[in-house]
């Protein structure tokens, strides 16, 4: 088979090299922590993109899976031992549990029309939030608890590389997943569910598959998140996490996988920068306001997200897209123009 090297491959390789080399060039703790945070939320946002961007499911309960991962890892590291083995085991158990929960919840709710589904996911994630609040003996209620991360991760750099490697592996796996025959059916479900059914595909199965995959990946992100903070509390289960994932996906570009990563970078960096400016300008303590403005601007000027809009621009420049209508076109489909 001929190996075609495109501009995209080069760009990916460059990015990869930058992130590998960066810690050796600039070993600022703040930067490492920020990048680690971006990668973790990038993984979460990609998992959300599988639901929103590829299958067209709007879920308000995605934080539930993030929380399951975070709590599983935190509780196991606290109650058992802070070894690497327990950490890996906790990730696997968290993913298994999240997969099981998303399978059950999906089976129960994905039959419903989208807005009813969205409300129900909210209810289910509320259920887990209450569980995390009330099961004090294990979760220490609202305040949460601190725990010791495995010793290898005491070095921020090691953890950074662990998270970065995970991100790359998950990205490649999800990329393959959305380009598999099953992934194509997910896209068909998003485009026209009824038609997909009449082609003989049981769309419920595919929506459940999407939600299980998204749930498992989100749980993994949650595990990493807990370890990055060495602390967990109920905030990992709240709507804020879901909204963050939603914003990252929309700002970056739905249905692109790369978009959510970029969205995560933009939002995490903006949060970091804006709250940093609060020291000099008290108004920035309300950085959430600026966030709102940023979001509105993004939706007005980049309705397809940053990646989506850029892509369109490039295609226009190459003269491949004439009709404004095609803005909604799938990136994968468009590649065929090339």
């Amino acid at each position: 088979m001929k190996l075609k090297i495109s501009l995209r491959h080069i760009a990916f390789f460059l990015l990869f090299a930058i992130f590998v080399l960066l810690p050796f060039v600039n070993d600022s703790r703040t930067l490492l922590i920020l990048l680690t945070q971006i990668f973790i939320f990038g993984i979460l946002a990609m998992s959300y993109d599988i639901l929103l961007g590829y299958t067209g499911i709007v879920s308000f309960g995605h934080a539930m899976f993030f929380g399951i991962g975070a709590y599983t890892t935190a509780v196991m590291l606290k109650q058992m031992d802070n070894t690497l083995f327990i950490f890996v085991l906790s990730i696997l158990i968290g993913m298994l549990f999240a997969g099981f929960v998303s399978f059950l919840v999906g089976l129960l709710t994905l039959r419903l029309k989208s807005h009813f589904f969205a409300m129900l996911t909210l209810a289910f994630s509320g259920l887990f939030l209450v569980l995390a609040e009330k099961w004090r003996s294990v979760t220490y209620g609202n305040d949460g608890f601190t725990f010791r991360a495995p010793d290898v991760f005491r070095d921020r750099m090691t953890f950074y590389f662990f998270v970065f490697t995970s991100l790359v592996v998950i990205f490649l796996a999800l990329y393959r997943f959305v380009n598999s025959p099953t992934g194509r059916i997910l896209i068909a479900v998003r485009e026209n569910e009824q038609r997909t059914k009449s082609l003989g595909f049981n769309t419920l199965h595919y929506k459940v598959i999407a939600s299980v995959v998204a749930g498992i990946v989100a749980s993994f992100a949650g595990s990493l998140y807990a370890v990055s903070l060495r602390f967990v509390n109920t905030s990992v289960m709240t709507m804020d996490i879901t909204l963050d994932a939603l914003l990252m996906t929309i700002i970056g570009g739905v249905g692109t996988l790369v978009g959510p990563l970029l969205g995560a970078a933009v939002i995490e960096y903006a949060q970091h920068a804006l709250s940093g400016m609060a020291r000099d300008y008290p108004i920035f303590e309300r950085w959430i306001i600026f966030f709102g403005i940023l979001y509105i601007l993004a939706v007005i000027f980049f309705p397809k997200g940053i990646i989506g809009s850029l892509r369109l621009l490039i295609w226009k420049w190459r003269g491949k897209v004439k009709n404004k209508k095609t803005q909604v076109a799938l990136p994968q489909e468009k590649e065929r123009f090339e």
Binding site: S198, G200, N323, K325, R336
Partner: protein, 258 residues
Amino acid sequence: MEPILHTDNLTIRFGGHTAVDRVNFQMPEKHLKAIIGPNGAGKTTFFNLISGELKPTAGDVYFKGQSLAQKSAIERTRMGLGRSFQITNVFPNLTVLENVRLAVQSKEKIRYQLFRHFKSYKAITEKAEELLALVLLDNKRDALTTMLSHGEKRKLEIAMLLALDTEILLLDEPTAGMSLEEVPTILEVIRTIKQQGDKTILLIEHKMDMILDLSDSIMVLFNGQLLADGSPEEIMNNDTVQHAYLGGLYDEHLTDIK
């Protein structure tokens, strides 16, 4: 000969309105039957009952002698009942090729394959291209479906239906809303399928010349009831049918036949 499809007192009521009323019909294998009737006669409802989109109030549909009462629309498609829709119903934001490719993929039962790249299934893409050539859409394979003309979308519908490779094709007004220039190509496509000789086709149509040209038999629905079922000549000479439906049209077309 055992009919491939038949109905037994098929009835559906919506409140007080009986849309399909005790219809008994038989469909011989590899046969092309047209369903005609005025608007609101229950033609599309009848299709929906056969394809499983609607559940009958009474009566049943039989495919190769087997009752379909417990079968969902998806199961019926898999068993061999494919249908096209009166309203164009495709994937607007996917390419023309991808639309057909998905249908071929369904036929090939590649449903839960998560790790291989979809492009590695070369046979599927080739089959899809072949079907596009059959409906004369091969030059549009990479266009987004939303940019196609109405007639082209109808052709795409037929390609997708053929991709499922079902024994029975239910075509709901394949030429609806088409411009006059586009009709002959659809006619040609249906004729090609018929000549290949392995499909049973049930066709709802309004264009009488097309029906007379293509069909082996015609059934007439009126107010949900089966008014007549027979060869084109029989139907054209049937007094009840003339009164109920054909009216003035009749004379004109009879001369055509002669």
